[in-house]
Amino acid sequence: MYYFIFIIRTAFEDFKRSKLQTFLTSLGIMIGVFAVIMLTALGLGLKKYISDQFDSLGTNTLFIAPGKILEGGSFGASSLLGNRFDVKDLNRLKRVKNITGIAPLSSKSGEAKGTEKSEFVSIFFTSEDFFDITGFSIENGRFFDNTDVEKRSKVLVAGPKIAEKLFGSEIEAIGKKVAIDNVNFLIIGVIKSKGGGGFGGPDYDSYFFGPYTTGYIYNPDKQFIRFAIKAEEKIPLATVKDQINKEMLRRYEEDDFSIVEPTEILSVVNSIFGIMNIVLVAIASISLLVGGIGIMNIMYVTVSDKTREIGIRRAIGARRKDILFQFLIEGIALSIIGGTFGLILAFIGVLIVQNFFPAYIDLPSVLLALGVSSAIGIIFGVLPARKAANLEPVEAIRYE
């Protein structure tokens, strides 16, 4: 036991003597561990963010989109090119049993003039069911209702962010007129913040929502890009999906539309981000490799600096393995020092990033980082340590 403490202490005594050198040597590992942990944290955050987005939709929700969205476990290109749906489809779908809500979707982007300033905005034109399907709740004012849809009222519900931007505050926005591409709308409500935005997901807080019938102003062909459907909870989703499929097949070919559950999209998204994350982490790992080479380099220098000391130690009875162990410990210690600092840096980085994005570090990635850095210490320390161990005592002690 005393032996181990002695050897480990010897290594740290060395570092104390050359703090700058120790720091520079472990810098490579530090950057590598920082990059790997940071990217893993971002990946985990992104995954969590996406799952949260889909979780709010509930389990009994379906989407119908043109073309084939999911092909062999990934997003298909044809979904971008596919036909659009129209009112006929909406009316047919309304006849399908076991559906409690249906929301057609079309969108429009344009310049909105508020009292405070102008902003480029997007409007989702949909039905009153949309709010229930997506789990929105109202913060101020009201949602538009069936009457608004029937009357093609020029009313809009605003996201809290855009309301604040255009009118100064959410309350101020209620009852105000907003002109979007020269059409005047009345703002009747502001939704409760859904959060999100930033990376990937839609930032609902910055959208306007209006009756789909009103949207025909911009959309004279009365087409929709998507349907969101809520099914009755007691009926298996597969049954409802099947019924919708039959209804759609009466008008379309198999390949012209897709019916997707959020969980399906979720799993595809997860697998895509999973792969992306692996690739990023693999690239970041190159810096770990470079760091390891740095350690190997400095360990060779140390061995040659300490040749005489090795000779002395051998003369008083150190075996080859004692010398090997001593230098291996030094390499590992260098590597773990770098790894620990990298980890601390990544913790700080994640704390900063959390202001914009739900990145987080989990225990496995911490253990992995420390495991990998000690492994690097061993792998890149073993050659110099072997060189030290294999020095002939007589040569080493004569070394000047």
């Binding site: 005393y2 032996y3 002695f6 010897t10 005594e13 060395d14 003597r17 005489r308 000391e309 002395i312 130690r313 051998r314 003369a315 008083i316 009875g317 150190a318 075996r319 080859r320 393995k321 004692d322 002939e392 005592p393 007589v394 002690i397």
Partner: protein
């Protein structure tokens, strides 16, 4: 205790020429002896010392220590012998600069494989007191004088209670007075404690401390 049987150490310089640092040396060191090995530089006395001290291996011949043929031992066993059987004292003291005086003295016990029948720290403390170095125990080697450093080196050689103290030019880096003190110390260890001592030197004055003097010249033991 130690016997060299027609031992040679040679180095191949090129295809045809072989250089003999030591040729056909036969020597026996008996227990409790104080032997001086004297010769000019390049005579082969250092080679002889390295062979006796197990730092080097003979090219030909056999080295026998306590009836054990060294050629039959592996590196670990030879390391153990260096640890337990020999205590080295060098010209340049060869203390490890980043270890304190006490740690330097304890270093051989770190590498000890045999169970020590004494507490190393207690023994080191006792030795330090006896040699008047107790106050310096937590000092680093570069903070004490050459004479003190060489005393620490001798204590390091003594901590494992070896059979043989092997001193290579122990006074080479010391002034005459301090050198004499060190030699007196070695003499005392030999006479009072019955320690076997071999001193390698090129100075006749130093060699005189030995009860037997072996002359090495041109790689051969002359007398």
């Amino acid at each position: 205790m130690i016997r060299l049987d027609i031992v040679s150490k040679s180095y191949k310089i090129d295809e045809e020429t072989t250089f003999y640092a030591l040729k056909d040396a036969t020597l026996e060191i008996k227990e409790k002896e104080f032997i001086s090995i004297i010769g000019p530089s390049g005579s082969g006395k250092s080679t002889l010392m390295h062979l006796i001290g197990l730092l080097d291996k003979p090219s030909q011949g056999e080295l026998i220590i306590q009836n054990k043929k060294i050629s039959k031992l592996d590196d670990d066993q030879i390391s153990s012998l260096r640890n337990e059987f020999v205590g080295f004292v060098f010209q340049q003291f060869n203390l490890i600069p980043k270890l304190t005086v006490l740690e330097n003295i304890l270093l051989p016990t770190i590498y000890a494989r045999k169970k020590l029948d004494y507490n190393p720290t207690e023994k080191a403390t006792e030795l330090l007191k006896k040699f008047g170095l107790f106050e310096k125990r937590n000092t680093y080697p570069n903070k004490i004088s050459g004479g003190q450093q060489q005393r620490v080196a001798i204590l390091r050689a003594l901590i494992m209670e070896p059979k043989l103290i092997l001193a290579d030019e122990p006074t080479g880096n010391l002034d005459t007075k301090t050198g004499r003190e060190i030699m007196e110390l070695l003499k005392e260890l030999n006479e009072k404690e019955g320690m076997t001592i071999a001193v390698v030197t090129h100075e006749a004055d130093i060699a005189k401390y030995g009860k037997r003097i072996v002359n090495v010249r041109d790689g051969k033991i002359v007398k």
